[in-house]
Symmetry: C2
Subunit: 398 residues, 2 copies
């Protein structure tokens, strides 16, 4: 996150979490930074999300810093939620010499629980003091709640004779502790881009990454992705390359979240092609990723093509069922809308092999579905559904 | 199903199921019967569903009989699917002295497997011979696949000085055997109603029953609900009462399906009030019923209000989060959008009590959510999500 030129980050322990793990993170962008935000579409959203959205809108897509507290989601906390968010950002602004309007805040943790404000405020001095260009790792750790691993990435490219870097961190979607708000993501880039163009690029990247993953179908109250860009203006001829990098970073983080889904033993990647549009392809792919029956079948190493095509059929997208072709890894299961004879034991063994894969190794179950000969193609990611998911979410009593 | 005057039904064993259980059912309606059908919205649907929809449309909502074969869904079977459906209905029509166009067919069972037609045709003679006004029970049994119990009901009312009866049977949604097509339902009524009015009544009843249940979010390729009405025309002053009965029968059958959901230990009923419209209220209620996190929490006896309100927030319906109030059984958990202090042990014990309930006893977890002061109210039904659901759907390999 702090790899791009001029960005600072920090992560510390203020005492907000009962576990004693790091719980406060701060990211500071260089002067003149533009910031694009995408937020949960839930009607029930935390006060901090409202504040971020409002500040970005009234500042025309500009911001300088974002504070993250993990432990309390500050959702469903009434008027106090907004009052606490305002107070926290004012305190950070004072310490950094910024206007409060330039500071954003994201909260993640238990819904319905307010932030212990004295603890948070008390933690700000050491947090600001530890800001550095090497602070990305500490920030990536401090935003976690029940995640098993941190999620970060940095990319570097040569654009127009100069080095451009993009960094990103994210958290989620453990929800091992009930009532957790799931997903947060931050991205930094050291190239200057006009605010409206940056916003459009980020929106497209999010459609192809965070909005294409699903773990359990439950949208959180605090979902938030903030992408900062600041630095020498980049020539328009490099915008396409920049967007490719932006999308790659976003997809890496999104896939890391799906892979770390509760009880998951593998990552599922569904690629749909031949649809009318990319949006329709992603919609079909995400419906397949979200099907409990498909997720269970994959967990059970069952090459169950019927469940995959049935899920595609209910995605709300029109296609010709007789044009359907389906592949699982290297095995073709359907052609012309009908099942093919295939090596069932081999396909099952392919699925078993993905589950045995360790983190970030070859743990990806690849499903490819053709639904016609249209130009639309898109991907989505999810994970399998295991007994452990039920136990994680049923055994814990708030 | 055969309780209403003039209706005949039968259920027999033709040998379509490996288990040797009953697998052929026939329902015959009196001359002049109107028939309203509602079908799966899946793009991938079985040939028999296409045939039913087309015949009902070209006959202006009239039909005389419906054959059901259980064991093979006849979905994703290519041209052969339609050819077999045509042949089966022609054979039934010949035996009953009807035109083929007056006969419908529904199939349920494994996707991608064609019907063993010789076996089916060979079973038609004994099936037709056993038609009787007492055949409802046999038909209710023969349409089952992996259901644990049959689902049937008959209601009787005095309307305009005469007895009117409504009967119904349904199957689903076991899917214990992978690739099962889930839901079939049939309704009979011995009052005459104009076809277009009947269709409108049935459509509304389905919105308030079958379209308001969810077990695992996966829409089947063969879902079908057929409602027949035949008899003395009923005066318009009794239509409202008739629709109430029609809705009650449909809701009973729909709830029976949710209650028999895979691995379920209780029925969940969510009532939403204060929405802008009934459709929006049902939409919020069904989203809550379908949330894996809510289902797991209830299975774990966790009065987890945060998950309920978070699910409501992502239903795609606008409401004021600060107007939210929530009850679980007799316990109020939220008011004015914020959590209340409540008897956590008591609420947990309430949930535990529902799960202990035997079939058709007090096994209903009641959730009531107010989202404002609008006139819209509606209900939806689902079931909890247990380890057994995963094992049922992961352990079996097709």
């Amino acid at each position: 996150m702090s790899a791009p030129e001029g960005f600072l980050a920090a992560g510390t322990t203020a005492g907000l979490k009962a576990s004693g793990k790091p719980d406060l993170a701060l990211i500071v962008a260089p002067e003149g930074a533009v910031c694009a935000g995408t937020f949960t579409t839930s009607v029930v959203r935390a006060a901090c999300v409202d504040l971020c959205a409002e500040r970005l809108q009234s500042a025309g897509g500009r911001a300088r810093a974002v504070l993250t507290n993990s432990g309390q989601a500050n959702a469903c906390t009434g008027d106090r939620g907004l009052i606490d968010s305002l107070r926290a950002t004012q305190a950070v602004a004072d310490l950094l010499g910024l206007a409060a309007e330039e500071v954003l805040i994201c909260s993640t943790g238990v819904i319905g629980v307010p932030i212990p404000m004295d603890t948070l405020i008390g933690g700000l001095d050491p947090l600001v003091e530890s800001l550095s260009s090497e602070g990305g790792q500490a920030a990536a750790t401090a935003i976690l709640t029940t995640d098993l691993v941190d999620k970060q990435i940095a990319l570097e490219a040569e654009l127009g004779g100069r080095r451009v870097r993009i960094g990103g961190i994210a958290k989620g979607s453990g929800m091992i502790h009930p009532d957790m708000a799931t997903m947060l993501g931050y991205l930094s880039c050291d190239a200057g881009v006009p605010a409206d163009l940056w916003q459009a690029m980020v929106r497209r990247a999010v459609q192809r990454s965070f909005n294409a993953i699903t773990v359990d179908g439950d949208t959180s109250t605090n979902d938030c992705y903030l992408a900062f860009a600041a630095g020498e203006p980049l020539g328009p001829e490099h915008f396409e390359a920049l967007e490719l990098g932006l999308t790659a970073v976003s997809q890496h983080l999104a896939k890391a979240i799906a892979r770390d889904g509760e009880g998951a033993t593998c990552l599922i990647e569904v690629q749909v092609e031949g649809a009318t549009s990319e949006a329709e392809a992603i919609s079909i792919a995400r419906t397949i990723c979200g099907s409990s029956l498909v997720k269970c079948a994959i967990h059970g190493c069952d090459p169950n093509w019927g469940r995959i095509v049935a899920a595609a059929g209910r995605a709300g997208v029109a296609f010709d069922p007789e044009a359907v072709a389906l592949w699982l890894g290297g095995f073709q299961l359907m052609q012309g809308g009908e099942p093919l004879a295939f090596d069932r034991a081999g396909a099952s063994s392919y699925l078993r092999g993905r589950q045995a894969g360790a983190y970030l190794q070859d743990d990806t179950v690849a499903i490819r579905l053709a639904v016609g000969d249209g130009p639309g193609r898109g991907r989505a990611w999810g994970c399998d559904l295991s007994d452990r998911y039920i136990r994680i979410n049923a055994d814990y009593t708030t």
